[in-house]
Amino acid sequence: MHWLTTILIFLPVAGALVVGALPLPRYWVGSLASLISLVEVGVWITTATKFDFGSASLQFSQRRSWVSDLNISYHVGQYAFSVWLVGVTTVVMAACVIYGWWVGRERARAYFSLMLLLTGAVVGVFTAQDLLLFYAFFEAMLIPLYILIGVWGGAERLRATLTFVIYTVVGSLLMLASIVAYGLQQGTFDLTKIGPSNSTWLFLGFVAAFAIKSPLFPLHGWLPATYRESPPEVSAVLSGIVSKAGLYGLLRIAIPKFPEVVADWRVVLLVLASISLVYGSLLAWRAPDFRGVVMYSSLAQSGLIVLGLLANNDLGLDGAVLQMVNHALMSSALFLLAGMVERRTSTGEFALLGGMARGRPALATVMMTAGIISLAVPLSTSFAGEFLILAGAFQQHWAWAVIGAGAILLAAMYMLRAISAVLHQDVGPAVPDSALDLRGGELAVVVPLVLCLIGLSAYPNLISGHAFGGNRAITQVITPGGGYLTPTIDHAAQRANLTTCTKSGNQGSCQTVLVSAPSGTTTWTRYAP
């Protein structure tokens, strides 16, 4: 039973080795890889059905000592929110692998084994419970991505990979420095045992890595070249899945392990998130091509999710997890659709597109559905996610909610503009009359993603109500004490307002207690008033 997490990580890795080593023709390599990625989805479904969402503890965990003199271990396991992120990873990766098979990528053995390696690495990031292991998977994501973009990418791929790699490596090395210092300070690297730290520098090291990956303004400079030059399915993976690794890092490490520093830096981070949200939406609105819209909307969405993560309450956190899953599905579906449009017209420029809806009902329906859901129309799952996030942010301060609500308006503007520029208006010069409607293979890739979105729209509580398990929010994940610190610390008086929140059923209640630190101590009793 406890092997399930390990199987989820290493099944695709083993598949990658098999696919890379077997001398099969291209078609068979693709089908084998697709089969493996579908089996991976099946394994995840098994995990999810056996998972006890009522419990807030780590499940399916496995621990083996790795480097004993520094207390590093192979420790994997899943919390409720990890289950959802792993699930969306397997689903999106399966869609992208099948798309690569359908398109018939050159050098199939290398291509598919890299895609499967990437799957294993991302699942590893979402399930690692040891800082060193987390770092190893975090870096391992970069290796396949680098080759996937550099070999199968567009004409400007060399420049794109360079920018992408420089940003990512800088971020992750800052994180490595933080990990070394943090782990040695605490005497362990195990995320479930490591205590909180109040070092600003360590916090910033982690945040730099996660903010680059997410991405968050002003560290999004790698975005345009990378997303435009990657093959569409790799862009889908990047914006759908890999960016979630950064947000997951904030949720699992940066926020819970540095409660005091987060309190000090909360406003700064909220401001950056708001800028990402508004600025990303504006860029998406003015983007000249389809991929531009989707990629800048990803910037906006990660800003929104960070807003939820930093809202510091159950609503925001539940909404953030839901929205991570939503965005993974939406943006990967849209990037794949962008790729499908590009295959027909060899461009994504709005100036050259238009009128593709006529005579292509499947394309029009699928794109319309994905687009409408991603602009957060009421009753859609992304509406539910954004609403929870904004409600959470509102409790922090009403201004954040106002900014967020304004940005949702912008989302409607850019998404409708993109849909209309591709599907409606006059037939663009790059659209040949012979351009086909979506074929069976393409529908098989993108329709399941859209169906997942529709299913979640019917019941978003599946995720938002089951992201943190039991009757407590993330506080349970962070600490057995069941409380977390509000931003108001009075250092001079050595007093702090501690808020403990509990949830029973759907009712939540919070209790704020004023505590004083014993005189002479500098460390606060953070979790138990």
Binding site: V67, L132, A136, A140, I147, G150, T161, A181
Partner: protein, 488 residues
């Protein structure tokens, strides 16, 4: 009647075995018929290195207690025995890489004789326990390497490289000798532990001697600013010799540096710790910035080896048990990555018949998948990515620096790694992202040979590089036992 010291033949066996093989090889050069000379010589050299490796393993096993032997001339301990295992292993792989190298056949046995002699010298050098044996060992392997660098007179630049190496190396040796003389003059002692016991504190002459000893050893470790010979010598030497130099010389020089500093100069620890940290930062800066602009792959790897000297010196600067462990562990994947990378370069060189540049590596990864993936793993390991031992190597030296309280050394190392990403990934880019067809590269002599021995060498390096990531704990344990021999 002269008092003969008791000779611990077993302690000397790794170096004696190799020098014995070297003598036999010299006989092979004249006695074995010409057509059989190459296989016989290569086999003997390989067997010699493997045998020496086995003897070192035995020596490691039987030397739990660190003692001095042969009238205090050498140490018999695990620190040197582990270094000898690595040295002999590097030598064995170097023989595998050398076998198909295009060289004049008439001197092939001498080539292997020199290679084993250099190996023997290094094995002796790492055991040195007084200033005399230190210098003797240094000159022993250096002279063999000078000749090896210049041995291929048909190769343009080889002779020049040998001459440069000779002149700069001689300056380094002279510096070491001068420093030793000053130390001896101050303390009146030759052996390391007696120098420490004499404990003259911050005597100016002793400090000057210490500085010169460090400089002399830094020449051999090719740490900046004493690295000037490295790019030229690495580029000009026949590639298998470069492979051997880059791994074995570095192992010997760094292991001895740590030993000399901790054993002979424990009272001046604050002083040399700072100095080594300075040299480390200089090497990191110079090596990485120099490598950024290189097009020739051997030269690029030479600069990268300077930067790796910097990383390993961080472990020495930390001057704690964790640092010693870090150094020993780091050397294991480093030796494998370095040998492996140069082996792949050698394969490409033989294929094209011209020096390998980033330009003509194009498409190599697709044409030779196994070598391509190996090279990929080696450069990622040098960059310090997970799934290779290079990651834990860097992690451990950073941890050692942190234990010492020098977080700024971590920052320097992190910045250096960021810079290095550009050129290491540049190699991957060159191999995979461009087609060789665009460049119209013509292989030198038809289809390339299937070089089984070279591939075997590369695979050994690959296994060590990746294996040292997963088997960290056993290797760290071995390194810890080795480091226990040092007075830390």
């Amino acid at each position: 009647m002269i008092n003969k010291p008791h000779v611990d033949w077993f302690a000397l066996s790794p170096s004696l075995g190799l020098i014995g093989v070297s003598f036999v090889l010299l006989l092979v050069a004249v006695l074995v018929p010409k057509n059989a000379r190459k296989p016989v010589a290569a086999f003997l050299a390989f067997a010699g290195f493997v045998g020496s490796c086995a003897l070192s393993v035995l020596l490691y096993d039987r030397s739990a207690q660190a003692v001095t032997a042969v009238h205090d001339a050498i140490f018999r301990d695990r620190w040197s025995a582990l270094a000898q295992v690595l040295l002999a292993g590097s030598g064995a792989v170097a023989v595998l890489i050398s076998y198909r190298e295009k060289m004049r056949e008439e001197h092939i046995a001498e080539y292997y004789a020199l290679l084993t002699a250099a190996g023997a010298g290094m094995a002796f050098f790492v055991q040195a326990s007084n200033l005399m044996t230190l210098f003797l060992g240094l000159e022993w392997f250096s002279i063999a390497l000078y000749v090896l660098t210049a041995i291929d007179i048909d190769l343009i630049g080889s002779l020049e490289a040998g001459l440069k190496y000779l002149i700069v190396g001689a300056v380094g040796s002279a510096t070491l000798l001068f420093g030793s003389a000053l130390v001896y003059g101050t303390t009146g002692q030759l052996s390391f532990d007696k120098i420490a016991a004499a404990g003259h504190g911050h005597d100016v002459m002793l400090v000057a001697g210490l500085a010169m000893v460090i400089a002399g050893l830094a020449f051999k470790a090719s740490a900046a600013p004493f690295h000037m010979w490295t790019p030229d010598a690495y580029q000009g030497a026949p590639t298998p010799v470069t492979a051997f130099m880059s791994s074995a010389t570095k192992i010997a020089a760094l292991v001895v540096t740590y030993r000399v500093l901790t054993t002979a100069f424990p009272h001046d620890q604050r002083l040399w710790s700072g100095a080594i940290a300075g040299i480390a930062i200089a090497s990191l800066a110079w090596g990485n910035i120099g490598a950024l602009v290189q097009r020739n792959v051997k030269r690029l790897l030479a600069y990268s080896s300077v930067s790796h000297a910097g990383f390993m010196l961080i472990g020495i600067a930390a001057a704690n048990a964790l640092g010693a462990r870090a150094l020993m562990y780091y050397l294991i994947p480093y030796a494998a990555m370095s040998l492996g990378a140069f082996a792949v370069v050698a394969a490409r060189e033989r294929e094209l018949g011209v020096p390998v540049t980033l330009h003509n590596l194009a498409g190599f990864g697709w044409e030779r998948p196994v070598l391509g993936i190996s090279m990929w793993v080696f450069v990622l390991g040098m960059l310090g990515f997970p799934l290779t031992g290079g990651f834990f190597g860097k992690f451990y030296v950073f941890a050692a620096a942190y234990r010492h309280g020098w977080w700024w050394l971590i920052v320097a190392g992190v910045i250096a790694t960021m810079i290095s990403a550009y050129y290491y990934l540049g190699i991957v880019r060159a191999m995979y992202f461009r087609e060789s067809a665009e460049l119209q590269l013509a292989p030198a002599g038809g289809a390339p040979n299937r070089e089984l021995l070279l591939s075997a060498g590369v695979l050994i390096c690959l296994v060590v590089t990746v294996g040292s990531f997963f088997a960290v704990q056993p290797l760290i344990d071995v390194a810890r036992h080795a480091a226990n021999a040092l007075p830390l």
